[in-house]
């Protein structure tokens, strides 16, 4: 029992320790599809999946106009706003990237 407990604590500690130690950097870009939509793609520098990462389109005041999650391919297609906007990839508090609408080509 004692050995099991020690092993379990060690395993959990290792897992917890490994999470912040993963030195991955978020990566994100968007493309104008030319049909009134944009496609955004995200990922991480270590190849980890970005599936489920929340993508938000915001207006110039920071108000969320539309949001969704990256799919299994790390991609999402959304309607392109006609007014000034930006798109933000948010994976936890440390991992946030914003692409300005004017930079989406």
């Amino acid at each position: 029992m004692s050995l099991f407990y020690t092993t379990a604590v060690l395993l959990v500690s290792t897992l917890l320790y490994s999470l912040p130690a993963a030195a991955h950097t978020p990566l994100f870009d968007c493309f104008d599809n030319g049909d009134g939509t944009i496609t955004c793609e995200g990922g991480f520098s270590d190849g980890a999946s970005a599936t489920g990462v929340v993508i938000r389109i915001m207006d110039s005041q920071g108000k969320v106009m539309e949001q969704g999650e990256l799919d299994a391919a790390g991609s999402i297609t959304m309607k392109k706003p006609t007014a000034e906007f930006s798109v933000t990839f948010t994976a936890g508090t440390e991992h946030s990237i914003t692409v300005l609408g004017d930079d989406i080509i």
Binding site: L27, D29, F31, G43, G47, A48, S49, A72, A73
Partner: protein, 277 residues
């Protein structure tokens, strides 16, 4: 991994026979392999002697030209045919011109983040002077946006160099490592030629510039030769920024074409980048 004596003997034999076609390189050039954002990606493909900038040979229309890309983490790579983008050009040499190829891959084809293994499978070239055909399976890897993909995957080519470092992310002075494969099997103790692309490409006039980047102190510094180890691995420190070509000669399984000897070679181009000051 263990090898039989016969495997080792085969590797040594192949290494020796590869001398015949030495210093030939298909140059598959693109200005930048580590792209911050998606853009059109231009390629120029010339069959030449990379360090010397010539003699340059005719490159017939390739049998295949494509890229391999992983659509999502954990998924198998897909191939995308790029033959439609090939454009025949005449490459100027000192006294004549020979056929070569350009391809401007549009941004729409290489838009997604990740690795693109771009592959040229050429039509065998008859080297009449040496009485053999040469077929060099050539790879260049391009990355868009920094998301890694399939750079470490092998593609099942008859002759192939498996990268052990990302070919698009190497500082000058970095050790580049790879494995020479024949039909997917490591080739021990075989020769790998290493050449620096020593003459800048003049893409406007389709020729190599006459002035070289460096002047070697001895011929052995031009087409350098290293050997793979018992596991088929090699390593090389790239001392200067630019393009370094690695060629494993006569390693593919097919040894005859049109009733003549065939050398199936594996080529991988690696771009070295100076550390910012």
């Amino acid at each position: 991994m263990r090898f039989k004596f016969s495997d080792v003997l085969l590797g040594v034999t192949l290494g020796c026979t590869s001398l015949a076609a030495s210093a030939h390189f298909i140059v598959m050039y693109t200005p930048q392999t580590a792209l911050l954002r998606a853009s059109d990606v231009p390629f120029t493909m010339v069959f030449t002697h990379a360090f010397a900038g010539g003699p340059t040979m005719a490159l017939e229309k390739p049998q295949r030209f494509y890229y391999s890309k992983k659509p999502a983490p954990g998924e198998s790579s897909n191939e995308v045919d790029l033959m439609q983008y090939l454009e025949a050009v005449q490459w100027q040499t000192e006294d004549t011109h020979v056929s070569a190829w350009k391809a401007n891959i549009p941004r729409s084809e290489m838009r997604s983040l990740g690795d693109y293994q771009v592959v040229l499978e050429p039509t065998p070239y008859l080297e009449a002077g040496e009485g053999l055909y040469i077929q060099q399976f050539t790879k260049v890897m391009v990355n868009v946006g920094g998301v890694p993909g399939n750079w470490a995957e092998t593609l099942g080519l008859p002759a192939e160099i498996e990268a052990l470092n990302k070919p698009y992310a190497n500082w000058t002075g970095a050790v580049f490592r790879g494995i020479v494969l024949s039909d997917g099997v490591p080739v021990p103790y075989t020769q790998v030629e290493v050449e620096y692309l020593n003459h800048p490409l003049d893409l406007e006039n389709n020729k190599f510039q006459a002035e070289a980047f460096i002047n070697p102190p001895h011929p052995a510094f031009g087409a350098m030769v290293i050997l793979t180890n018992e596991l088929g691995e090699f390593s090389f420190v790239m001392p200067k920024a630019g393009w370094w070509g690695f060629a494993a000669l006569t390693v593919g399984p097919e040894t005859e074409y049109n009733g003549m000897p065939l050398s199936q070679d594996a080529i991988l181009w690696v771009q070295a980048t100076d550390f910012p000051k």
